[in-house]
C-alpha cells in the first residue's frame, strides 16, 4: 500500500515529536506514523505500514496507542503544541512594534512548517480524518493559532501601522500562505531556510499594508 521508500526501517526520529522521557518504541511509532501518513494520508496508511516502518508489529502499536485514530490525535495535538508554543515564544521575545510582532510570528510559523514539515502537512490535511472528540481539541488549537495572528494584525491596524481594510481576511490570507510552505518546501531547494523566512516576512507585511 505504501510505496517502497516509506517502508525503510531506519527512520531518523523526527526529533520535534520525540522527547527524551518517552519510551523509545512509542516514539518510534509516532515518528513512523509521521513518515508514512505524510506520504499516503491517514486512510492510505495501514497500521501494518506504520508498524513495519517503525520496525515492529501492529500488536506492539496497540500496546502503545489505543487505536490508529488515537495515534493521529496524538500526532496532530503535539504538532499544534509545537506550533503554538513557537508562535507564543516569538511574541514574548518581540518588541512592541506591530511590524516586528507580525514578522516574528510569520517567521515562527514558517520555520515550524519547514522544520516539522511532515507533521504540519498531516495536521493540515488530515483534519477531516479526525473523529469527533479529538477533532474538537485540534480545531481549538488551530483556531487559537489563527487568533494569535488576528490579534497582531488588528493591533497593527488599530495603531495605524497597517493600512489594510480587511484585517481578519489579511490575517487568514497570511496564515494560509505560510502554512502552504509545508506543501512545496524541499530541503536543499533554491532558497535557504532563511531566504524563505525573510521573503515571507516581507510579503506578509506588504499584505497588511505596512509600508516599512
Amino acid at each position: 500500500m505504501v510505496p517502497v521508500e516509506a517502508r525503510r526501517r531506519t527512520v531518523p526520529p523526527p526529533t520535534v515529536l520525540t522527547r527524551p522521557g518517552d519510551e523509545p518504541t512509542a516514539a518510534a511509532l509516532l515518528a513512523a506514523a509521521v513518515e508514512v501518513m505524510a506520504v499516503n494520508g491517514y486512510h492510505g496508511s495501514s497500521v501494518r505500514d506504520i508498524a513495519s516502518a517503525a520496525g515492529t508489529s501492529p500488536a506492539v502499536l496497540y500496546h502503545h496507542y489505543e487505536s490508529k485514530q488515537g495515534l493521529l490525535v496524538r500526532l496532530c495535538d503535539r504538532g499544534l503544541d509545537v506550533l503554538l508554543r513557537a508562535t507564543e515564544d516569538a511574541l514574548d521575545d518581540a518588541g512592541p512594534d506591530p511590524a516586528d510582532r507580525l514578522g516574528a510570528i510569520v517567521e515562527a510559523h514558517v520555520r515550524v512548517h519547514m522544520d516539522s514539515q511532515r507533521e504540519s502537512l498531516i495536521g493540515n490535511s488530515e483534519l477531516r480524518a479526525l473523529e469527533a472528540p479529538g477533532r474538537a481539541l485540534v480545531v481549538a488549537k488551530r483556531d487559537a493559532q489563527q487568533r494569535l495572528f488576528d490579534r497582531v494584525v488588528r493591533d497593527g491596524v488599530r495603531s495605524g501601522r497597517f493600512t489594510t481594510a480587511h484585517p481578519d481576511e489579511a490575517s487568514r490570507f497570511i496564515t494560509t500562505a505560510c502554512t502552504g510552505v509545508a506543501t512545496w518546501y524541499r530541503r536543499g531547494g533554491p532558497l535557504t531556510d532563511d531566504d524563505v523566512v525573510t521573503r515571507h516576512r516581507a510579503i506578509a507585511l506588504d499584505a497588511v499594508g505596512c509600508g516599512r
Copy 2:
C-alpha cells in the same frame, strides 16, 4: 466507512463538471465522487460509497470508469481545466494595467474555488493519491496555473506598478492563499461571494506592493 451524511442520494449536480452531452450515469458518478471524496478523501471514500451516493452499484462505476483511480484523474483533470480556462478568460478580458490583470485572475481563481469548491478541494489535497501517469498531467496543469500568476506579477514589477522584491514568492503566496478559500468557504457565511472576491483582490494587490 463514510459517515451517514455523505450517503444522501440527492446530490445537486455539480454543473461545472457535467456537460449536457455526457451520459447521465457517468456524470452522476463523477458528481457523487466529488461529493464523497471532498468529505472523506480519496482513500477514505470507498467505491461502494461513491456508487451508492450516485444511486447505483460498484459494477456500474466500473462500466463507466476504468478504476477508482481513473475516476480521480478525470475529476482532477476536469477541475483544473475549468480553473485554467476561467483564469485565461479573465486575462483575455482584462485591460493592460497589471493591477487590473492581477485583480482579474485573483477574482477568477477565487470564484472557481467557491463555485466548484469540492472539486478544488480534491484537486488540491488528493494530488498525493494520484498515481504516476495521471499525476504528471495534473501537476502540469497546476504548474501552468501558477505560471499565469507568475507572469502577471513579474510584468507588474517590471513595469514598476508592483514594488515587491520577491515576485515569484509573492505570486505563490497569493495563489496559495486564494486556493485556501476552498478550505473554509461556506455558502451563506458572513461574507457574500462578492465580498470574498473584493477582499482577496485588495489583499493580493497589497501583497505585491501595489499602492492603488
Copy 3:
C-alpha cells in the same frame, strides 16, 4: 485476466472446427474460445476475453451460444468428433494386419493432436469444467475412442501378432502417451510432423510387444 498475446484480434480461424456452412461470427467465437481457453483454461477465460479475441462483445456471444458452458460443450464435442472420425477413417483404410491397424490409428490420433492441438488440449484438460449433461456426451465419445484402440490391441494379441500380457493397460498407455503430444508439440520444433508420427508408431508397436 488473459495475457497479452491472447488478446490479439486477428485469430487465424482454426479450420478444423469451422465449416463453410457456419455463420462466420459463430465460428470466429468458437475459434477465439479455442485460442483463449487453450492458454488459460475454462475458468481462467472470461466471456469478455473470448468475445474480444473474436473482435466482438459478450452480448454477441450470447446471441450465438446459450452460455459459456454451451460454448465449451460445442467445442469439446466437435473436437472429439474430428478425432473419432479420423480414427475410424484410418481403420477403414487400413489392411487386416493388426500392426498396420494399430499404426494407422496411432498416426491418426497423433496427427489430430498436432493439427488441432488447442482443441485437443482443451478437450483433455477441461473435462472437469463440463457440467453434467454435456459431460456425459463428451465422456462417451472419449470412451469410444479408447475402445477403438482397445479392440485393435486385443485383436493383435488374440492373433498372436502382439505379445503383451496386458492388452487393455497397453492400449491406455498408448493413447495416454499419444494424447500427451498436444502438451509438448510445437510447430517448427526439432522433429517434423512425420517424424513425430513415425516414432510414435514405432514405440506404440514396441509397447504391445510387436516384433515387426
Copy 4:
C-alpha cells in the same frame, strides 16, 4: 463456485505434503487446496472454497500464504520434490541392469502418482496457471524428472539392453503414460496398486524394446 462435495470438512490429511514440524493451520490449508484444486482446478477454486475446506476463513489463508498463487507454487513445488526424491531413491537402490533401473523408476513414478494423486494431478494440469517466477522453478524440476528417465533409457540403448530406435521419444512416451495414471486411478478399482505398478513396468520395458 465449487460443488457441494468439495466442501466437506473431513479431509484426510495428505500426509505427503504435511510434515510434523509444520504449523497445523498452514498444513491444513495446503491439504485443503490440494483437495479443492484437484477437483476444480486453480481458477475454478476460490480462496473462500479452500479456506472453508480447511475450516477457516480467507483472512487466515493470507496470514500463512502470500497469495493464492503462492499457495499453488508451494503445492507444486513440494509435490515435485516428493516425485524427484522418490525417483532418485529408486535409482540409488537399483542394481546396474538398465531394465531393473527403468523398472525401478517407473515404479516410483507410478506409485507417487497413485499415492499423491491429487498433488500430481494439480502439478500436471495447473502449470499454465503458474505465473512467471514460480513457473520457472516448477518447470525446472519437471524437466529434471524427465532427464532422469532419459538418462536411464539412453544407457539401456547404449548397452544394447534396449533396442528402441528413439530413446528420447520412448522416454517421454513412458513418463507421459505413467503420469496419466493420476488421471484415471481410483483406489479400490479393479487393479491393486501392485498390479498397476507391475503392468506399467512391463509395458514400459516393452516400449523401449527390452526383450526380458
